[in-house]
Symmetry: C2
Subunit: 492 residues, 2 copies
Amino acid sequence: MASLKPRTSNLKLHNHLYPVIMAGGSGTRFWPLSRQLFPKQLLRIMGDETLIQQTLRRVVTASAPERVMISTNPAQAESIRVQLSEWKDALRDNFVLEPEGRNTAPAIALVALELVRRDPDAIMLVLPADHIVKGQRDFDAAVSLAANLALQGLLVTFGIQPIRPETGYGYIKPNRKTVLATRGKLKGHPVARFVEKPNEAKAAQYLKAGDYYWNSGMFVWRAATILDEIRRHQAVLYRGIEHISRLMQQGASRSAIDDEYRKLPSVSIDTGVMEKSTKSAMVPVSFQWSDVGSWGSLDEVASKNKAGNVVVGRVVDLGSRRSIIYGDRRVVATIGLTDMVVVDTPDATLVCPKSRAQDVKQLVEVLKQQKAPEYLEHMTVQRPWGSYTILEEGLGYKVKRVTVNPGGRLSLQMHHKRSEHWVVIAGTARVTRGEEVFDLKIGHSTEIPVETRHRLENHGQEILHIIEVQNGPYLGEDDIVRFQDDYGRTKT
Amino acid sequence: MASLKPRTSNLKLHNHLYPVIMAGGSGTRFWPLSRQLFPKQLLRIMGDETLIQQTLRRVVTASAPERVMISTNPAQAESIRVQLSEWKDALRDNFVLEPEGRNTAPAIALVALELVRRDPDAIMLVLPADHIVKGQRDFDAAVSLAANLALQGLLVTFGIQPIRPETGYGYIKPNRKTVLATRGKLKGHPVARFVEKPNEAKAAQYLKAGDYYWNSGMFVWRAATILDEIRRHQAVLYRGIEHISRLMQQGASRSAIDDEYRKLPSVSIDTGVMEKSTKSAMVPVSFQWSDVGSWGSLDEVASKNKAGNVVVGRVVDLGSRRSIIYGDRRVVATIGLTDMVVVDTPDATLVCPKSRAQDVKQLVEVLKQQKAPEYLEHMTVQRPWGSYTILEEGLGYKVKRVTVNPGGRLSLQMHHKRSEHWVVIAGTARVTRGEEVFDLKIGHSTEIPVETRHRLENHGQEILHIIEVQNGPYLGEDDIVRFQDDYGRTKT
């Protein structure tokens, strides 16, 4: 990774640069590792950090964390805050929550409105939270050039030189005859034409021609410019977003805002604005990029063994080649696979040829229709105080391992339908049960009867682990009455 | 299945017929569904009963359950008794335990010696516990003809008409010119020649020639005859077995017997005796047979869906063909597989092409070398009183679900290194803890401190389920002191 020092020559520019991390994706294509409530950006796909952590670290060289905006939805915000807790204070007021996903144009418009209020000269650097970029210096240079173009009133995209005849991306052809600006070897051009996802023949032709670039989904523009262009090309959307923004400022109820948001047209910023605008420009970039759009794309970014396999976890293999074998705690045993994907998680396993990896999306759709819980979330669920893992569920009981971070505490709560038993297996638990407050050490247990107020806290220095056994006729997470909560969840 | 009534015409013969079920196999080729301590015969591979249950039901039409002998080893005897509990009383004294597997000849010799003691006219019907046979009437007819040949002093094998160029079996060529006996269309012939497992070219040639049969591993002979032939062709083995049999009758210690047994040559009855004997005969049989020797062989016996897939469990598939997809409680998602095997169990997953299914054996060898517990046993372990399932193991703790059948009780026991917590999730537990005895109902719990005598019993009518949380520095199953046990395990 390049130096983390901001380049002083761009200091003035950077003071108006606001990275906007688009983190609302549902991540079905990395199922079963990703889930609807645990999308790709939260995964540690490559390296020690999750994709959203890497994305944030990428932009704090060109900007301050205080100016990073996170665009997401209420279901994911909590997990994202947990993962970005290193920048907790800086990001406190920078989450812009869409009530639900309405494609990129409404989400971007909502952030742009917020930014012009904060800084009329704001330049947005829009980045998906779940892409991989290699080459920090080249990335910074591209941002710098694009920001200069943005100051000229242009809508700038980053173009990626194709390396295969990909049919899953849109393509952009720049007008190379016109150079709008340069920085070192980098040049900015007007866009000659946008092309929707091509068929295979077209994609092969573009690859050969060499003058078409992949649309990376990364953008740089002034917030004021993009709002103007949205108003011009998506008038209905613009009026709707303005109305919602006003409601938000007036402190309208969440349900009133949600109702308005659902009325917005669902449109992408590419087809809805960029392709219609005369101000679109492109910078062909030199950094390595992957949208890690499916299990197959790990090939581009992950390191491989001699046989060309990407192997993670407790894998025992005999003679497989060019395969992706992804395990967790269980043994994954493979023999003689070629160009296959095997992904093993505590509650679901995927097996498919690499060439079919895109169809995982379709498969998740089937699970969703079947109301199978495995499409929605993992057996391990992150919480602001730690996490819990469902070890087993059966008729009338549920067994969880609950992990509470030092200083963390669950809400003071009560259940109408279930009793709970807690056995401490690591650390020390501070337990509130009815009127009593006491400490439970490792190897000790307590019983929380139905309708008894209780709370679990970790006042120690080490992580607290307990085994919780729930008993009762109904064991849903929604049987919870919260009396006090450190994380503002008493109303939810 | 054919009528269960014994045919009265053969009653006299049947009074001397002793089915001998060979149940000592280690079952590595059906891993991860089979384990070293839970081999193939204990699996419900096809139909509602396990393979050993089907094998026993197959022979009680031609014999009485009181005359069925089970040849196995101490590690498997308990699981087999549980599975054959329908015939518990009849089989009580009919288990012949080999201290360890020394191939088929010593095991057969040990049973034969026991049988000549019980009945000098005993005819043995030797059957592997883990084969599938379809066609009870044809099976009975073959047994009947073979028994007649056995009475003539012959060693009879059943020959299976090959349906593919199999390289995994031995072949037998009968001398068709000589007919030793007939029954309906069935004929018995002398053996012209035994052939070891052939290469592919040879196997194809045998299939085409039509006068070679698969050696099924099923035999019929008089116990006295096989002992004579073992003495003639395997003199060292014979003397060893005689010595061991004498030690057993004299009530020698288990370790003395084990030591002698380990000295025996490890030799199969086929190569060691049948191939050398002049008394070998073969009956080409008409029933359908499979040794279900690997996951690939399920093709021959299991029912398939329209796409030719064998599918068990929670499987979501898009467009796979001719594959075997075997799941349990977790979701198994497959896309576009062709001729593949996917087997998913709570602690291990296998993925391989059908053509490599034989190599599972090799893979289990690797796991064994790695001392991975998954080669040895399942997370669910059968016990005479019920079963337990490991839900999670970690540093200093283990979580189990324990199931106790009505009337079942665990031994009165104590642990030096661990405390235990029990939470009842179904049924009612009778708990002995130190000097106390009390009942625990659903939703209630108790704590068993280190070095406290305790016992868990089910006096109720319904199955008792508890969640057990163990805490301690050492959690091995061998940290157990048994004071009293209903199943004779106080010494083990």
